[in-house]
Symmetry: C2
Subunit: 341 residues, 2 copies
């Protein structure tokens, strides 16, 4: 039914003529069309109005020709749906004025998030319809550890020291919170797949701040619980940014279809550690998109060659940044489409 199912094929490790390509944060601030909408509607209006979320989601499909759409939303909709106040000031990052500090705070969080997130499922259904089978639609959620970081710290941070201290000194509380986020996320991702998402990705943006043992305990365990619960309903991609050391063990879980990696690891090494067990996604340094286009394309081809074109999804190693020229973003996509083995 899908006219372009490269992403799904790559996740199933089926033979493809070339790798699929999309970019994390592809619906975002480097696109003038997005900036126009941002002038008119505040952040949560854009996220919570299905027509706006749909329009923003489709922009990069139309403008730069990616092989997948990813629904426009934010990882902090889960803490919000669980009952926390989340403020998002343009250009300032998120603020959660009342943070989680006690078992009582955790007890008050709501797991049954479906009702509060109806706008998200409506946005997915609408987008699935509007996308008209051109490309697959990706749903997503923040990983439990990354959400804990914001819920305990209250805002973005270089080292999330308060959140980590919470994990290390009140680990029973931390696990109680992580379990609750995990339960809510399972509900959320299953409902996303039901509403129209073809694939889901779980973003563990801050897992790289944990040692390998701490990753297993506070991040990996919950990522895998989610993957196992969600995989029967659709393919799951994990993106534990900065946690190269977890690649081997995560790839051994058959509930995981794909793993995203950042640019800190050589593709060859990632293949060695995963031994063909999962599809790999990544790992172009977004700042490298600023290079002159001919060099940029050469680097993209080098990356694909290093990963190999099969069981691979071309992507950045992290979200695209605001000041990337649109033609450079498009050149990244074009370079993947032009790749020949």
């Amino acid at each position: 039914m899908l006219k372009n199912d490269l992403l799904l094929k790559a996740l199933r490790k089926e033979k493809v003529s070339r790798p699929p390509v999309w970019m994390m944060r592809q619906a975002g601030r480097y696109l003038p069309q997005y900036i126009e909408l941002r002038k008119k509607y505040d952040f949560f209006t854009r996220v919570q109005t299905p027509e706006l979320a749909c329009e923003i989601t489709l922009q990069p499909v139309d403008i730069i020709g990616v092989d997948a759409a990813i629904i426009f939303s934010d990882i902090l909709v889960i803490p919000q749906a669980m009952g926390m106040t989340v403020l998002m000031e343009e250009g300032k990052g998120p603020l959660l004025p009342k943070v989680i500090a006690s078992q009582n705070d955790i007890d008050q969080l709501n797991i049954d998030v479906e009702g509060n997130l109806q706008y998200m499922f409506n946005a997915l259904s609408l987008t699935k319809r509007e996308i008209n089978n051109r490309v697959p639609l990706i749903g997503f959620a923040g990983a439990p550890f990354t959400l804990l970081c914001y819920m305990v710290e209250g805002k973005g941070s270089k080292g999330f020291e308060k959140a980590k201290a919470f994990c290390f000194t009140q680990s029973a509380l931390a696990h109680s919170l992580l379990s609750k986020i995990t339960a809510a996320t399972i509900v959320y991702l299953k409902a996303q797949l039901k509403a129209g998402a073809d694939v889901v990705q779980i973003f563990d943006s801050w897992s790289g701040m944990l040692s390998p043992d701490d990753f297993d305990q506070f991040a990996g365990k919950y990522l895998l619980q989610i993957a196992e619960a969600v995989a029967p309903h659709g393919p799951v991609i994990l993106f534990p940014k900065g946690s190269a050391s977890a690649l081997e063990s995560l790839s051994k879980n058959t509930a995981v279809s794909g793993i995203g990696i950042d640019w800190n690891m050589r593709p060859e090494k990632a293949r060695l550690e995963t031994q063909g067990r999962v599809t790999l996604q990544g790992n172009f340094d977004p700042i490298r998109l600023l290079m002159p286009i001919p060099e940029l394309k050469k680097e993209v081809h080098k990356m694909i060659k290093a990963f190999g074109a099969q069981a691979y999804i071309a992507n950045l190693g992290h979200g695209i940044v605001p000041h990337i020229p649109v033609d450079h973003a498009k050149a990244f996509v074009d370079a993947v489409k032009e790749y020949q083995e």
Copy 2:
């Protein structure tokens, strides 16, 4: 002559009864005695007054009993000595109001930094005298790539995107700047060893933002140039934070005595990649110092066991953070001293 030469022995891979221990940023804001001095003297007064720098350097030797002193200073004294204005506002991080943007800016930088850094050599000589052979004295410098980050970006940053864009889009300029910083740093570190430092460490705090190939090109190359020039004068420790993938190749250079690693890598893996070629240093997560002392000590022993007690320097994986209780910092040191194979 040194009463406690565990650090030097470990760097020479000589048999030790237990590993030496020190902590990055051990002379710093978690110590009330330091905070007292900070109230009276601004940052560069503390750095540039040998008596103050000496007093601060010796505080952790006296208070928590580390096996090495590291001279109190800052990595940004090099850009400053090269002619740039560096402002340091308490609690706000560094600010370099006029950044490097052109070849002309680079041409104006001074390589012959010895004269401008006389206060540092005086501080080292004085400290070496005052330390009275109790423990070795470590000198240090920022790595060229990390210094480029500040010199181009002008301040601290999450991703140093401007500095990385400078490297990727104006690489000839970047290499010209990196070469000049390298030359100044070689002069600086040799003079530190002459003035009284027993060992030097090079901090590449931001090298982890580079892909393995970019690391080799913009960071590793210059780290090794410095190590090769300085090693005949004293042992060199490299600390390329976040660059786990560089461990294997850096360890193959015989000019490198030690390599520090952060907590993102398992000690066993680090040993595997370095095959006994270098002494390893690290890699306790500083936030783990907040754990209750008995658990903290258990974790320290686990870490030493994982590295092995020989050719190993117990340390954190990054600088100690301000809110660590002094008795927890001391417990870290004590745990290493109590370690028995």
